[in-house]
Symmetry: C2
Subunit: 245 residues, 2 copies
Protein backbone atom coordinates (compact mmCIF):
# COMPACT_ATOMS: atom_id res chain seq x y z
CA UNK A 1 0.00 0.00 0.00
CA UNK A 2 1.70 3.13 -1.18
CA UNK A 3 0.99 6.35 -2.97
CA UNK A 4 3.50 6.64 -5.80
CA UNK A 5 4.36 10.17 -6.95
CA UNK A 6 5.42 9.31 -10.49
CA UNK A 7 6.95 11.60 -13.09
CA UNK A 8 5.33 10.82 -16.44
CA UNK A 9 8.01 12.66 -18.37
CA UNK A 10 7.85 15.63 -20.74
CA UNK A 11 5.13 14.52 -23.16
CA UNK A 12 6.30 11.60 -25.30
CA UNK A 13 4.83 8.55 -23.53
CA UNK A 14 8.02 6.63 -24.36
CA UNK A 15 9.89 8.92 -22.00
CA UNK A 16 8.23 7.60 -18.85
CA UNK A 17 10.70 5.52 -16.83
CA UNK A 18 10.63 1.72 -16.90
CA UNK A 19 9.75 1.76 -13.19
CA UNK A 20 7.00 4.34 -13.62
CA UNK A 21 5.42 2.34 -16.43
CA UNK A 22 5.52 -0.84 -14.32
CA UNK A 23 3.69 0.97 -11.52
CA UNK A 24 1.04 2.40 -13.86
CA UNK A 25 0.43 -1.11 -15.24
CA UNK A 26 -0.27 -2.56 -11.79
CA UNK A 27 -2.03 0.24 -9.89
CA UNK A 28 -5.54 0.36 -8.42
CA UNK A 29 -5.98 4.07 -9.04
CA UNK A 30 -4.29 6.53 -11.38
CA UNK A 31 -4.68 10.26 -10.69
CA UNK A 32 -3.28 12.02 -13.75
CA UNK A 33 -2.46 15.54 -14.91
CA UNK A 34 -4.16 16.79 -18.05
CA UNK A 35 -0.81 16.97 -19.84
CA UNK A 36 -0.07 13.28 -19.35
CA UNK A 37 -0.69 11.47 -22.64
CA UNK A 38 -3.82 9.34 -23.06
CA UNK A 39 -1.57 6.52 -24.20
CA UNK A 40 0.06 6.35 -20.75
CA UNK A 41 -3.20 6.56 -18.82
CA UNK A 42 -4.48 3.69 -21.02
CA UNK A 43 -1.63 1.52 -19.69
CA UNK A 44 -3.33 1.28 -16.30
CA UNK A 45 -5.29 -1.97 -15.75
CA UNK A 46 -8.72 -2.02 -17.36
CA UNK A 47 -10.43 -2.01 -13.95
CA UNK A 48 -8.24 0.74 -12.47
CA UNK A 49 -9.96 3.91 -11.27
CA UNK A 50 -8.94 6.87 -13.44
CA UNK A 51 -9.18 10.35 -11.93
CA UNK A 52 -8.19 13.48 -13.91
CA UNK A 53 -6.34 15.87 -11.63
CA UNK A 54 -7.96 18.96 -13.11
CA UNK A 55 -11.23 18.30 -11.31
CA UNK A 56 -9.57 19.26 -8.00
CA UNK A 57 -7.91 22.20 -6.32
CA UNK A 58 -4.44 21.37 -5.01
CA UNK A 59 -5.64 21.06 -1.42
CA UNK A 60 -8.55 18.81 -2.40
CA UNK A 61 -6.19 16.73 -4.50
CA UNK A 62 -3.81 16.17 -1.58
CA UNK A 63 -6.78 15.17 0.58
CA UNK A 64 -7.92 12.77 -2.14
CA UNK A 65 -4.49 11.09 -2.28
CA UNK A 66 -4.51 10.74 1.51
CA UNK A 67 -7.94 9.14 1.59
CA UNK A 68 -7.13 6.79 -1.31
CA UNK A 69 -3.90 5.77 0.43
CA UNK A 70 -5.71 5.20 3.72
CA UNK A 71 -8.11 2.83 1.94
CA UNK A 72 -5.21 0.49 1.24
CA UNK A 73 -5.08 1.11 -2.50
CA UNK A 74 -1.98 1.31 -4.69
CA UNK A 75 -2.26 4.82 -6.07
CA UNK A 76 -0.19 6.24 -8.91
CA UNK A 77 -0.18 10.04 -8.97
CA UNK A 78 1.00 10.58 -12.52
CA UNK A 79 2.48 14.05 -12.98
CA UNK A 80 3.90 15.76 -16.06
CA UNK A 81 7.70 16.01 -16.02
CA UNK A 82 9.31 15.34 -12.64
CA UNK A 83 7.26 15.50 -9.42
CA UNK A 84 9.70 17.88 -7.71
CA UNK A 85 10.67 20.26 -10.51
CA UNK A 86 7.71 22.64 -10.62
CA UNK A 87 5.48 19.59 -10.14
CA UNK A 88 4.09 20.53 -6.72
CA UNK A 89 4.94 17.02 -5.56
CA UNK A 90 6.23 18.46 -2.30
CA UNK A 91 2.79 19.63 -1.30
CA UNK A 92 1.33 16.20 -1.93
CA UNK A 93 4.23 14.48 -0.15
CA UNK A 94 3.75 16.68 2.92
CA UNK A 95 0.04 15.94 3.07
CA UNK A 96 0.76 12.20 2.85
CA UNK A 97 3.52 12.30 5.47
CA UNK A 98 1.36 14.33 7.87
CA UNK A 99 -1.45 11.78 7.50
CA UNK A 100 1.11 8.99 8.02
CA UNK A 101 0.49 7.51 4.56
CA UNK A 102 3.53 5.89 3.01
CA UNK A 103 4.63 7.33 -0.31
CA UNK A 104 7.35 6.71 -2.86
CA UNK A 105 8.87 9.20 -5.27
CA UNK A 106 9.54 7.93 -8.80
CA UNK A 107 11.47 10.66 -10.62
CA UNK A 108 10.69 11.52 -14.22
CA UNK A 109 12.28 13.20 -17.21
CA UNK A 110 11.70 16.93 -16.88
CA UNK A 111 11.15 19.02 -19.99
CA UNK A 112 14.09 21.12 -18.71
CA UNK A 113 16.73 19.44 -20.91
CA UNK A 114 14.41 17.11 -22.84
CA UNK A 115 12.41 19.65 -24.81
CA UNK A 116 15.44 21.72 -25.88
CA UNK A 117 17.45 18.51 -26.40
CA UNK A 118 14.97 17.02 -28.83
CA UNK A 119 15.03 20.36 -30.59
CA UNK A 120 18.85 20.15 -31.00
CA UNK A 121 19.62 22.61 -28.19
CA UNK A 122 21.89 21.29 -25.40
CA UNK A 123 21.20 23.42 -22.32
CA UNK A 124 24.79 22.96 -21.14
CA UNK A 125 27.83 22.86 -23.39
CA UNK A 126 31.53 22.94 -22.71
CA UNK A 127 32.99 26.46 -23.06
CA UNK A 128 29.52 27.89 -23.72
CA UNK A 129 27.36 27.19 -20.67
CA UNK A 130 28.17 25.45 -17.42
CA UNK A 131 25.42 27.14 -15.42
CA UNK A 132 21.66 26.83 -15.82
CA UNK A 133 19.08 28.96 -14.04
CA UNK A 134 15.50 27.71 -13.95
CA UNK A 135 12.44 29.75 -13.03
CA UNK A 136 8.71 29.60 -13.49
CA UNK A 137 7.25 32.38 -15.61
CA UNK A 138 3.78 31.80 -14.23
CA UNK A 139 3.93 34.86 -11.96
CA UNK A 140 6.58 37.06 -13.58
CA UNK A 141 6.16 39.97 -11.16
CA UNK A 142 7.84 37.84 -8.48
CA UNK A 143 10.99 37.16 -10.51
CA UNK A 144 14.42 38.59 -9.67
CA UNK A 145 15.08 40.11 -13.10
CA UNK A 146 18.30 41.83 -12.00
CA UNK A 147 19.76 38.51 -10.86
CA UNK A 148 18.45 36.62 -13.89
CA UNK A 149 19.89 39.21 -16.30
CA UNK A 150 23.33 38.85 -14.69
CA UNK A 151 23.29 35.06 -14.32
CA UNK A 152 25.81 33.21 -16.44
CA UNK A 153 25.01 30.44 -18.86
CA UNK A 154 21.54 29.33 -19.83
CA UNK A 155 18.21 30.63 -18.54
CA UNK A 156 15.24 28.26 -18.77
CA UNK A 157 11.73 29.52 -18.08
CA UNK A 158 8.89 27.08 -17.44
CA UNK A 159 5.34 28.25 -18.14
CA UNK A 160 6.73 31.45 -19.63
CA UNK A 161 4.77 31.76 -22.86
CA UNK A 162 1.79 33.77 -21.61
CA UNK A 163 3.97 36.51 -20.09
CA UNK A 164 6.87 36.24 -22.54
CA UNK A 165 6.68 39.82 -23.77
CA UNK A 166 6.88 41.18 -20.22
CA UNK A 167 9.62 38.75 -19.24
CA UNK A 168 11.80 39.58 -22.25
CA UNK A 169 11.33 43.33 -21.78
CA UNK A 170 12.20 43.19 -18.10
CA UNK A 171 15.25 41.01 -18.70
CA UNK A 172 16.50 43.52 -21.28
CA UNK A 173 15.70 46.46 -18.99
CA UNK A 174 17.75 44.72 -16.28
CA UNK A 175 20.76 44.48 -18.57
CA UNK A 176 20.41 41.25 -20.53
CA UNK A 177 21.65 41.62 -24.12
CA UNK A 178 18.66 42.36 -26.33
CA UNK A 179 20.03 40.12 -29.07
CA UNK A 180 20.70 37.17 -26.73
CA UNK A 181 19.72 33.98 -28.61
CA UNK A 182 16.33 32.74 -27.41
CA UNK A 183 14.06 29.82 -28.25
CA UNK A 184 10.56 28.73 -27.40
CA UNK A 185 9.77 25.03 -27.60
CA UNK A 186 6.04 24.35 -27.62
CA UNK A 187 4.74 20.89 -26.64
CA UNK A 188 8.28 19.57 -26.48
CA UNK A 189 8.88 15.87 -27.23
CA UNK A 190 5.33 15.35 -28.52
CA UNK A 191 4.23 14.94 -32.14
CA UNK A 192 3.15 18.60 -32.01
CA UNK A 193 6.56 19.92 -30.95
CA UNK A 194 7.34 23.32 -32.50
CA UNK A 195 10.44 25.43 -32.01
CA UNK A 196 10.91 29.12 -32.70
CA UNK A 197 14.31 30.84 -32.45
CA UNK A 198 14.82 34.61 -32.34
CA UNK A 199 16.82 37.28 -30.53
CA UNK A 200 15.45 37.97 -27.06
CA UNK A 201 13.88 41.31 -28.05
CA UNK A 202 11.90 39.62 -30.83
CA UNK A 203 11.12 36.25 -29.26
CA UNK A 204 7.67 37.12 -27.91
CA UNK A 205 6.45 38.25 -31.33
CA UNK A 206 8.13 35.30 -33.06
CA UNK A 207 6.45 32.83 -30.69
CA UNK A 208 3.04 34.48 -30.61
CA UNK A 209 1.37 31.65 -32.56
CA UNK A 210 2.69 28.85 -30.32
CA UNK A 211 0.61 26.98 -27.76
CA UNK A 212 1.39 26.04 -24.18
CA UNK A 213 2.91 24.09 -22.57
CA UNK A 214 6.10 25.80 -23.69
CA UNK A 215 9.63 26.15 -22.45
CA UNK A 216 11.69 29.31 -23.04
CA UNK A 217 15.48 29.04 -23.36
CA UNK A 218 17.78 32.07 -23.40
CA UNK A 219 21.52 31.77 -23.96
CA UNK A 220 24.35 31.09 -26.37
CA UNK A 221 23.50 27.38 -26.52
CA UNK A 222 20.44 28.24 -28.61
CA UNK A 223 22.79 29.10 -31.47
CA UNK A 224 24.00 25.48 -31.56
CA UNK A 225 20.69 24.43 -33.02
CA UNK A 226 21.74 25.59 -36.44
CA UNK A 227 24.76 23.29 -36.49
CA UNK A 228 22.90 20.29 -35.08
CA UNK A 229 19.40 20.51 -36.48
CA UNK A 230 19.95 19.05 -39.95
CA UNK A 231 21.11 15.65 -38.68
CA UNK A 232 18.91 15.46 -35.61
CA UNK A 233 16.26 12.81 -36.10
CA UNK A 234 13.04 13.17 -34.14
CA UNK A 235 11.25 9.96 -33.35
CA UNK A 236 7.49 9.56 -33.47
CA UNK A 237 6.39 9.78 -29.83
CA UNK A 238 4.80 6.59 -28.55
CA UNK A 239 5.39 3.84 -26.06
CA UNK A 240 6.65 1.55 -28.80
CA UNK A 241 7.58 4.11 -31.39
CA UNK A 242 9.69 3.79 -34.48
CA UNK A 243 11.75 6.75 -35.54
CA UNK A 244 10.85 8.90 -38.48
CA UNK A 245 13.71 10.23 -40.56
CA UNK B 1 21.15 3.55 -38.97
CA UNK B 2 21.43 6.08 -36.23
CA UNK B 3 23.58 6.97 -33.26
CA UNK B 4 21.28 7.30 -30.27
CA UNK B 5 22.44 9.62 -27.49
CA UNK B 6 20.53 8.00 -24.65
CA UNK B 7 20.22 9.20 -21.06
CA UNK B 8 20.51 6.17 -18.78
CA UNK B 9 19.12 8.06 -15.80
CA UNK B 10 20.61 8.84 -12.39
CA UNK B 11 21.73 5.38 -11.25
CA UNK B 12 18.76 3.14 -10.54
CA UNK B 13 18.44 1.06 -13.75
CA UNK B 14 14.64 1.26 -13.41
CA UNK B 15 14.87 4.98 -14.10
CA UNK B 16 15.93 4.59 -17.72
CA UNK B 17 13.09 5.59 -20.05
CA UNK B 18 10.93 2.98 -21.77
CA UNK B 19 12.24 4.22 -25.12
CA UNK B 20 15.87 4.14 -23.98
CA UNK B 21 15.51 0.58 -22.73
CA UNK B 22 13.92 -0.49 -26.02
CA UNK B 23 16.89 0.96 -27.93
CA UNK B 24 19.46 -0.74 -25.66
CA UNK B 25 17.69 -4.06 -26.19
CA UNK B 26 17.95 -3.82 -29.97
CA UNK B 27 21.30 -2.10 -30.60
CA UNK B 28 24.40 -3.37 -32.39
CA UNK B 29 26.82 -1.44 -30.20
CA UNK B 30 26.51 0.09 -26.74
CA UNK B 31 29.10 2.67 -25.66
CA UNK B 32 28.51 3.23 -21.96
CA UNK B 33 29.70 5.51 -19.17
CA UNK B 34 31.28 3.88 -16.13
CA UNK B 35 28.43 5.13 -13.95
CA UNK B 36 25.77 3.33 -15.98
CA UNK B 37 24.68 0.21 -14.07
CA UNK B 38 25.88 -3.22 -15.21
CA UNK B 39 22.25 -4.31 -15.17
CA UNK B 40 21.42 -1.87 -17.97
CA UNK B 41 24.45 -2.74 -20.09
CA UNK B 42 23.45 -6.40 -19.73
CA UNK B 43 20.12 -5.58 -21.43
CA UNK B 44 21.89 -5.16 -24.78
CA UNK B 45 21.63 -8.20 -27.08
CA UNK B 46 24.09 -10.99 -26.26
CA UNK B 47 26.02 -10.37 -29.47
CA UNK B 48 26.12 -6.57 -29.14
CA UNK B 49 29.52 -4.91 -28.98
CA UNK B 50 30.07 -3.33 -25.54
CA UNK B 51 32.53 -0.46 -25.26
CA UNK B 52 33.25 1.28 -21.93
CA UNK B 53 33.53 5.01 -22.50
CA UNK B 54 36.40 5.43 -20.03
CA UNK B 55 38.92 3.93 -22.44
CA UNK B 56 38.66 7.08 -24.58
CA UNK B 57 39.32 10.80 -24.40
CA UNK B 58 36.28 12.88 -25.37
CA UNK B 59 37.66 13.65 -28.84
CA UNK B 60 38.51 10.00 -29.51
CA UNK B 61 35.07 9.03 -28.28
CA UNK B 62 33.33 11.39 -30.68
CA UNK B 63 35.46 10.00 -33.52
CA UNK B 64 34.53 6.46 -32.46
CA UNK B 65 30.80 7.28 -32.55
CA UNK B 66 31.21 8.80 -36.02
CA UNK B 67 33.04 5.76 -37.39
CA UNK B 68 30.55 3.32 -35.84
CA UNK B 69 27.66 5.33 -37.29
CA UNK B 70 29.31 5.43 -40.72
CA UNK B 71 29.56 1.62 -40.67
CA UNK B 72 25.77 1.41 -40.68
CA UNK B 73 25.43 0.16 -37.13
CA UNK B 74 22.74 1.07 -34.62
CA UNK B 75 24.77 2.62 -31.84
CA UNK B 76 23.48 3.45 -28.35
CA UNK B 77 25.65 5.96 -26.55
CA UNK B 78 24.45 5.33 -23.00
CA UNK B 79 25.21 8.30 -20.74
CA UNK B 80 24.58 8.81 -17.05
CA UNK B 81 21.70 11.22 -16.33
CA UNK B 82 20.59 13.29 -19.32
CA UNK B 83 22.83 13.71 -22.39
CA UNK B 84 22.56 17.51 -22.37
CA UNK B 85 22.71 18.34 -18.65
CA UNK B 86 26.44 18.15 -17.92
CA UNK B 87 26.51 15.06 -20.13
CA UNK B 88 28.72 16.48 -22.89
CA UNK B 89 26.20 15.18 -25.39
CA UNK B 90 26.54 18.42 -27.34
CA UNK B 91 30.13 17.65 -28.23
CA UNK B 92 29.18 14.22 -29.54
CA UNK B 93 26.16 15.58 -31.40
CA UNK B 94 28.30 18.22 -33.12
CA UNK B 95 30.88 15.63 -34.20
CA UNK B 96 28.09 13.46 -35.64
CA UNK B 97 26.37 16.35 -37.42
CA UNK B 98 29.66 17.58 -38.91
CA UNK B 99 30.36 14.07 -40.25
CA UNK B 100 26.79 13.93 -41.60
CA UNK B 101 25.85 10.97 -39.37
CA UNK B 102 22.24 10.95 -38.29
CA UNK B 103 21.66 10.99 -34.55
CA UNK B 104 18.72 10.96 -32.18
CA UNK B 105 18.57 12.37 -28.67
CA UNK B 106 16.72 10.27 -26.09
CA UNK B 107 16.46 12.37 -22.91
CA UNK B 108 17.01 10.79 -19.51
CA UNK B 109 16.22 11.45 -15.87
CA UNK B 110 18.91 13.75 -14.51
CA UNK B 111 20.05 13.36 -10.92
CA UNK B 112 19.13 17.08 -10.57
CA UNK B 113 15.70 16.47 -9.03
CA UNK B 114 15.87 12.66 -8.80
CA UNK B 115 18.63 12.26 -6.22
CA UNK B 116 17.24 14.91 -3.85
CA UNK B 117 13.69 13.70 -4.57
CA UNK B 118 14.40 10.12 -3.55
CA UNK B 119 16.01 11.57 -0.45
CA UNK B 120 12.79 13.46 0.43
CA UNK B 121 14.06 16.86 -0.74
CA UNK B 122 11.93 18.60 -3.40
CA UNK B 123 14.22 21.06 -5.21
CA UNK B 124 11.29 23.40 -5.87
CA UNK B 125 8.44 24.02 -3.46
CA UNK B 126 5.63 26.55 -3.41
CA UNK B 127 6.47 29.60 -1.22
CA UNK B 128 9.98 28.22 -0.54
CA UNK B 129 11.78 27.92 -3.87
CA UNK B 130 10.63 28.76 -7.37
CA UNK B 131 14.14 29.21 -8.77
CA UNK B 132 16.89 26.63 -9.19
CA UNK B 133 20.47 27.39 -10.15
CA UNK B 134 22.62 24.52 -11.41
CA UNK B 135 26.40 24.53 -11.73
CA UNK B 136 29.22 22.04 -12.01
CA UNK B 137 31.66 22.05 -9.10
CA UNK B 138 34.30 20.30 -11.14
CA UNK B 139 36.33 23.48 -11.66
CA UNK B 140 35.23 25.74 -8.79
CA UNK B 141 37.66 28.56 -9.62
CA UNK B 142 35.52 29.37 -12.65
CA UNK B 143 32.28 29.80 -10.70
CA UNK B 144 30.50 33.13 -10.20
CA UNK B 145 30.30 32.93 -6.40
CA UNK B 146 28.90 36.46 -6.04
CA UNK B 147 26.01 35.62 -8.34
CA UNK B 148 25.44 32.20 -6.80
CA UNK B 149 25.41 33.63 -3.27
CA UNK B 150 22.73 36.15 -4.28
CA UNK B 151 20.62 33.76 -6.38
CA UNK B 152 17.19 33.02 -4.98
CA UNK B 153 15.82 29.58 -4.30
CA UNK B 154 17.79 26.35 -4.55
CA UNK B 155 21.40 25.89 -5.61
CA UNK B 156 22.37 22.47 -7.00
CA UNK B 157 26.00 21.59 -7.57
CA UNK B 158 26.96 18.62 -9.74
CA UNK B 159 30.36 17.02 -9.14
CA UNK B 160 30.85 19.26 -6.13
CA UNK B 161 32.08 16.79 -3.49
CA UNK B 162 35.83 17.01 -4.12
CA UNK B 163 35.94 20.80 -3.82
CA UNK B 164 33.06 21.16 -1.36
CA UNK B 165 35.10 22.87 1.37
CA UNK B 166 36.29 25.55 -1.05
CA UNK B 167 32.86 25.98 -2.60
CA UNK B 168 31.12 26.39 0.78
CA UNK B 169 33.75 28.85 2.04
CA UNK B 170 33.58 30.97 -1.09
CA UNK B 171 29.77 31.01 -1.09
CA UNK B 172 29.81 32.23 2.53
CA UNK B 173 32.53 34.78 1.78
CA UNK B 174 30.33 36.08 -1.06
CA UNK B 175 27.42 36.60 1.32
CA UNK B 176 25.50 33.32 1.45
CA UNK B 177 24.13 32.61 4.95
CA UNK B 178 26.60 30.32 6.75
CA UNK B 179 23.75 28.36 8.29
CA UNK B 180 21.88 27.87 4.99
CA UNK B 181 20.51 24.30 4.96
CA UNK B 182 22.68 22.06 2.79
CA UNK B 183 22.67 18.41 1.80
CA UNK B 184 24.96 16.04 -0.03
CA UNK B 185 23.41 13.01 -1.72
CA UNK B 186 25.98 10.38 -2.62
CA UNK B 187 25.17 7.77 -5.31
CA UNK B 188 21.62 9.05 -5.49
CA UNK B 189 18.85 6.58 -6.47
CA UNK B 190 21.19 3.55 -6.17
CA UNK B 191 21.23 0.96 -3.38
CA UNK B 192 24.24 2.83 -1.96
CA UNK B 193 22.45 6.18 -1.72
CA UNK B 194 23.55 8.18 1.35
CA UNK B 195 22.38 11.62 2.40
CA UNK B 196 24.04 14.03 4.81
CA UNK B 197 22.37 17.26 5.95
CA UNK B 198 24.18 20.13 7.72
CA UNK B 199 24.41 23.92 7.71
CA UNK B 200 26.48 25.20 4.79
CA UNK B 201 29.52 26.05 6.96
CA UNK B 202 29.66 22.47 8.27
CA UNK B 203 28.57 20.51 5.19
CA UNK B 204 32.06 19.71 3.87
CA UNK B 205 33.13 18.15 7.17
CA UNK B 206 29.81 16.35 7.57
CA UNK B 207 30.08 14.85 4.08
CA UNK B 208 33.78 13.98 4.23
CA UNK B 209 33.14 10.22 4.33
CA UNK B 210 30.83 10.18 1.29
CA UNK B 211 31.82 8.90 -2.15
CA UNK B 212 31.22 10.41 -5.57
CA UNK B 213 29.15 10.76 -7.63
CA UNK B 214 27.43 13.22 -5.34
CA UNK B 215 25.01 16.09 -5.69
CA UNK B 216 25.09 19.11 -3.37
CA UNK B 217 21.86 20.99 -2.60
CA UNK B 218 21.78 24.34 -0.78
CA UNK B 219 18.54 26.05 0.18
CA UNK B 220 15.49 26.12 2.42
CA UNK B 221 13.99 23.08 0.67
CA UNK B 222 16.59 20.89 2.40
CA UNK B 223 14.76 21.50 5.67
CA UNK B 224 11.67 19.75 4.26
CA UNK B 225 13.47 16.42 4.48
CA UNK B 226 12.74 16.23 8.18
CA UNK B 227 8.98 16.42 7.65
CA UNK B 228 8.97 14.00 4.72
CA UNK B 229 11.66 11.46 5.46
CA UNK B 230 9.79 9.19 7.88
CA UNK B 231 7.09 8.19 5.39
CA UNK B 232 9.24 8.23 2.27
CA UNK B 233 9.74 4.69 1.04
CA UNK B 234 12.84 3.96 -1.02
CA UNK B 235 12.52 1.16 -3.52
CA UNK B 236 15.27 -1.34 -4.21
CA UNK B 237 16.87 -0.13 -7.44
CA UNK B 238 16.50 -2.60 -10.30
CA UNK B 239 14.83 -2.92 -13.66
CA UNK B 240 12.05 -4.98 -12.12
CA UNK B 241 12.37 -3.92 -8.53
CA UNK B 242 10.01 -4.38 -5.65
CA UNK B 243 9.89 -1.70 -2.99
CA UNK B 244 11.37 -2.21 0.43
CA UNK B 245 9.51 -0.59 3.32
Amino acid sequence: VTVYLVGAGPGDPGLITARGLELVRSCDVVVHDRLVSDELVAEAPADAIRIPREDFEQRELSALLVSLGQRGLDVVRLKGGDPFLFGRGGEEAIALAEADVEFEVVPGVSSLAAAPGMSAIPITHRDLSSQVTIVSGHEPEGLDFAGLARARGTLVIFMGLAALKTIAERLIAAGKARDAPAAVISRGTTAEQETVVAPLFEIADAASALSPPALVVVGEVVAMREALHHRNRIHAPSLNGRSRG
